[in-house]
Every structure is written in structure tokens, then in C-alpha cells.
Amino acid sequence: MTPALASLRAVPTLLRVGFAEAAAYRTEMVVWVLSTTMPLVMMLLWTSIADVAAVQGAGGAAWSSGDFVGYFLSVFIVRQLVAAWAAWELNFEIRQGTLALRLLRPIHPLLAFATSNLAYLPLRTLVTLPVVALLVVTHRDALATDLRAWLLWPVSVACAWGITFFVNVTVGALAFVTDSSLKLMDLWFAFFFVFSGYLVPLELFPPWLEALSAWLPFRYVLAVPVEVMTGRAAFDEALGLVLRQAAWLGVLGSVAAATWRFGVRRFQAFGG
């Protein structure tokens, strides 16, 4: 059996282990979910403004209070689904030297990190369900009606997760070289807040800023799946956006792989 096939066969078990871990630390996970309530706070801000007068987007689209509710509830849901935190785990294991154990195992460490992050998905989805119910019951008209959009949506979410994960790996692997690689993650988040549609729907940006966001990776981590599910992007446009997501996935995947290979060679498992 080739190593790749062996790794693949281990995936279900790894996912089961990860799920058990998620179930064991469920309180911690719920707290993590609660700590991503920023979209809900933004929803309060924007609805308080849109209740006075509809907000005019740069493209001419008017956003009513209900539009904002639909948008930010979707942001909250997508944010839960695309979460990855391998940067912190990787950083921790490199500094503590425990990564050595993972390197000895016959499974690629990155596969192990990916499955352990993914295994939290079922429980995270469960926690998100009340918000989904709220969204469907109260603001169904804010969701896409095109069935094709809903077929595209899982692909878009998967790409967004992949991009997030590869960025995590890249930053985490920089811990091979520098002690303060997590500061980079902080920087990533500052940009993410601005350019991913997390605080402001990108459509409301001044045109030059919106154009800039199209060329940065942040939009493809969050805004694209949200735009697909809210039907803000028509199907053809959405298809183009998902293709760009795939392109980013490829680019960042190569960067992550290169950083990892470069870093592992320097790894000395200090700590002991």
C-alpha cells in the first residue's frame, strides 16, 4: 500500500478522534463560538442606522434593515464553518518541541492538523443551528432562491476553509524561523476584519476599496460564500468568484507547502 493511500485510510479514524476531542471540550468550543459574535454586534450597528434611512451602496443598491440582518446572520454561520486554528497548535508544538512526535508518525502532520480542525465541524454546525433557524424563519427572502447557488455554496465554503487552513499552516510554520509568528496571525485578522466583509458588506465600500478587496485573499475566506448564500451575487458572477477562490486555494496551498518543507528542515525539537 502506498503511503498516500495509507494516510487516506487513516482519515476516518482521525476524524473520529477529533470528534471525540471536540465532544470532550464542548464547553470550550461553545465559548469559542460565542467569542465570534462580532457579526451580531455589527448587525446591531447597521440596523440601527438602516432603520432611520436605507443605506445606499456604492453600486446604487439600497440596504434595508432586513438586508443587514440576513447578511450578518449568514456571516456568522459561514464564520463558524470556515474556522481553522492550526496556526496556534503548530506554533505551540514547534516551540514546545512536541512536533517531533508527530513527525515520527507515518501520517503527515498537516493531515492530522486538518482533520482535527475539521472534526469540530459537526458540533459547530449544531451550535449554529439556532441562528440558521432564525435566519430561515424570519429572513428567508434574504437568502438565495436559485437552486444552483445552493449547490455551489458547499464548494465555496470548502474553498474558504481550505484558504483559511493554508494561511494557518503558513503562519504556524513560520514559528520554525521566528518566535513571534502569531503576531502575523494578528495582522491577518486585522486585514480580515476590514476586507472580508466581516464588519462592512463589501458592496458598501467606496469603489476603489471594493476593487482592492477583490485582489486580496480576505474576501474569498468569508464574503464569497456569504454572497452565494444570500444571492447577492447572481449565479454566473458567483461561479466566477468561486473559481477565483479555487485559484487562491492553489496559490496559498503551494505557499503553505513550501513554507512547511523549508521549516521542517530547520526543526531541531528544542525543549526536550
Binding site: 471540550y25 464547553t27 467569542s35 459574535t37 447597521w46 440601527s48 442606522i49 432611520v52 486585522a190
Partner: protein, 264 residues
Amino acid sequence: MRRAASLVLVQLRASVMLAAQYRLDFVLDLLIGAFWTVAAVLPLVVVYRGSSKAGVPGWTFGETLLVVGCFITLQAVIDGAISPSLTSVLDHVRKGTLDFVLLKPHDAQLLVSTARFHPWRVAGLVHAGVVFAVGFSEVGRGPALSGVAQALVLLTASTLLLYSLWLLIVSVSFFAVKVDNLGSLFTSIFDAARWPAPVFRGAFRVVFTFVIPLVVMTTFPAEALLGRLPGTTLAASVLGALGFGFAARVVWKASLARYTSAGG
């Protein structure tokens, strides 16, 4: 009292010496903080976009910037002086090393609360200063001296409030292990403090004024700077903060009494 003061000074000096080894961190904090400041201000720029009709009801762009300024100031206080120490308590509890702190012949709350500072986070005050300056130039007039004094009183009270909230979180950690992310939860709730009070309506208004008093922390100081905060509100806020601090102390003592250590 003198002993307590000298103790705090010793701990502070240790933190400063530690930070002095990582001088580059100041520049990094300054840079990353600048991006966060942009992230905080940008939604406002989009909301107002030069129009006076749009925006948070009753608040102009400049006035809202003053709230953001207070928010950034307090965030620097949290990151620099409050959360580093209390995060280390969470660590102590998990590892069981809190016992060593408790053995020391001084009040445990004081010891754990001053254990660690991040002096370089004063970088945040630079950003807050910039935001205040832009805010006042938008408003078109500077603050009155009495307004500044009131705002300083309120910000001090807010620091006490934030510290008390953090202490309550730490108290929770005695009972529920592996809640080290409660700190992030706290930070993300505090994120809501960057908007003026009218953003919160109905139940949110009540919660954020009395339970998690975010409104007291940023909206009130901004109103004081604008010279439109009633004296009674000021007095009530200070009294409330003192009450909060006292309650946190009581809860801390009660939790500590039930602390059973990690047990190996």
C-alpha cells in the same frame, strides 16, 4: 499599604525589564495597532461617508470618533495591564502552580493582578491620541478642561470595571477547567464598546449599561469630553464601578476558599 505599593513596583519593574529585551515589539505593536485602528474606524467612514443625515442617531462622525478613541484607550489598558496578569492566573490554575502564589505572605488578589504587564501596549495610546485629534477637529472645538477631568475619572472607573469583570472570569476558572478562551470571549464582547450607546436598543441597552457596562466605559467618557454628561450619571457610574469592584472581590474570595488545587 507601603508594602503593597513597593510590591507592585517590584513586579512592574520585572515586567519592564522583560519588555526591554523585546524592544522591537514596540514597533510591531505600533504597526499592528495601526491596522486595528483602521479596522475600527473604517466602518464609521463607510457609515457616514460625508453625509450628515446618515449615521448613528444623535451622533455626528466626529463625536463617534471620540467613542472609538475611548475604546482604543481602554483596549490598550486591558492588553497592557489587565489581561496579561489574569491570563497567567488561568495558567496557574490549570497547572496547579497557583499554590505557590497562595503561599506567599501577601494578599493573593494583589499578587496575581500585578504579576505581568505589557508596557509596549502604550502604543495603543498613540493611536487613541490620533483618533481623538481627528475627532475633535471634526467636531470643530476642543474639550473643556472640566470635560477632560470628568472623562479621566470615568476612564479610571472603567478600568476598575474591566478589571472586576476579568477577576470574575478568573473566578469561574476555579470551577471550570479549560476555559482559557474566556479571555477571548471577554475581548470580543468588549469589541461592542466601540459604538455609541444608541446602537444598542431594547434589552441590549439594559445589558450593556448595567450588566456588562460597555456604555459606561466608552459612551459616557465621550459625552463628558463633549460636555454633555449629566453630573448624576457621572456619580452613578463611579459608584457603580466601586460596587462592581467590591462584588468582584467578594466573589474572588469565595472562589478561592473553594479552590482545591490541580492535584498532581
